[in-house]
């Protein structure tokens, strides 16, 4: 049977049984956010940091629906386009909730939402010195991935394709290379669109997938959350099982002697 008991995911000082990490954005309402998160069986959920609406302070908010005792809250730096803003954001998030395990994302432009690796590296250096356990969003460049690991990030998170594009894995070979060279967990983050993308990422050896839009924007988010949960598991098991080789020619599955015809 599946050895999911022993196949724990260790990120920094944290351990998880689930290899699916989810985001909390783009849902139509808070109950859907909560229900889909539960259906995904994820144990970690990313959140963004924004100004409180002063005139509407009594309005319900995300943490009324997502239990921060039940889930590991992963503050992110969504919306930050330079290192300084990202560092400010995570320092505030840590003060708000004591969260030391964080997601660093520093973006380069609003059209592609591609990571600005120069600013990402700067921010990572500051945050690691500041004692944060940094899970860092990056592109699929193996050189950058190694650099971020050397800086001391506890996980490296290469994109599959741009955030919210749902186009799957643009460069499977690079994900494979990044994983081969990495000593820290590799989480495919961004671009996963449907179950097969998540399974593929795990088959390539990814340690986890981070999925938001694919679930939130599915026609049936709860059902997609379950599909992603199963896809991540299936892909992980296939990876651990060690796949058969691909062959140029056929290889018969039944014996080629003992025929009673001819």
């Amino acid at each position: 049977m599946s050895n999911s008991e022993s196949d724990v995911l260790t990120i920094g000082s944290h351990t998880f049984r689930s290899r699916l990490i989810v985001g909390s954005g783009k849902y139509k309402d808070f109950p859907t956010t909560r229900n889909a998160t539960e259906a995904s069986e994820a144990e970690m959920i990313t959140v963004a940091v924004r100004r409180v609406n002063i005139t509407d302070a009594g309005k319900e908010n995300l943490l009324d629906f997502i239990d921060s005792e039940r889930y590991t809250i992963l503050p992110n730096t969504a919306g930050c386009f330079n290192a300084e803003d990202a560092v400010r954001t995570l320092r505030l998030a840590r003060e708000a909730g004591g969260w030391n395990l964080v997601k660093l994302e520093v973006l380069g432009d609003t059209e592609t939402l591609y990571p600005n690796v120069v600013e990402t590296i700067k921010a990572a250096q500051t945050l690691v010195s500041d004692g944060f356990e940094v899970m860092v969003y990056t592109n699929d460049d193996p050189i950058v991935a190694t650099k971020l690991e050397e800086i001391g990030c506890v996980a490296v998170m290469p994109l599959g394709n741009p955030i919210g594009s749902g186009r799957g894995l643009a460069n499977q070979f690079n994900i494979h290379v990044i994983k081969q060279r990495a000593k820290v967990p590799i989480v495919v983050d961004a671009g996963i669109g449907t179950a097969s993308d998540a399974a593929k990422a795990m088959e390539l050896g990814a340690d986890a997938c981070l999925i938001n839009t694919a679930i939130a924007e599915a026609v049936d988010p709860l059902l997609m959350a379950r599909a992603m949960r199963d896809a991540v598991r299936a892909g992980r098991q296939a990876y651990l099982a060690g796949r058969m080789p691909k062959r140029a020619f056929a290889s018969a599955s039944s014996p080629t002697d003992g025929y009673f015809w001819n």
């Binding site: 849902y27 990313t46 409180v52 503050p75």
Partner: protein, 65 residues
Amino acid sequence: MKIQLNGENRVVAATTLAQLVQELGLETRTIAIEYNLEVAAKSGWSAHQIREGDRIEVVHMIGGG
């Protein structure tokens, strides 16, 4: 006292950060305060005085990827 709160000019009665949190009705929320570009430690909010013209950001966690 006139301060800049979350990007807008505002007159508040509070003289400390803790009083400000209460004045805004945010006591039970998971929030953080940035005071003139520095993180204001929660443990110090009751002692932390507010001055005229201070730039204060009050932030919380919302849905995002």
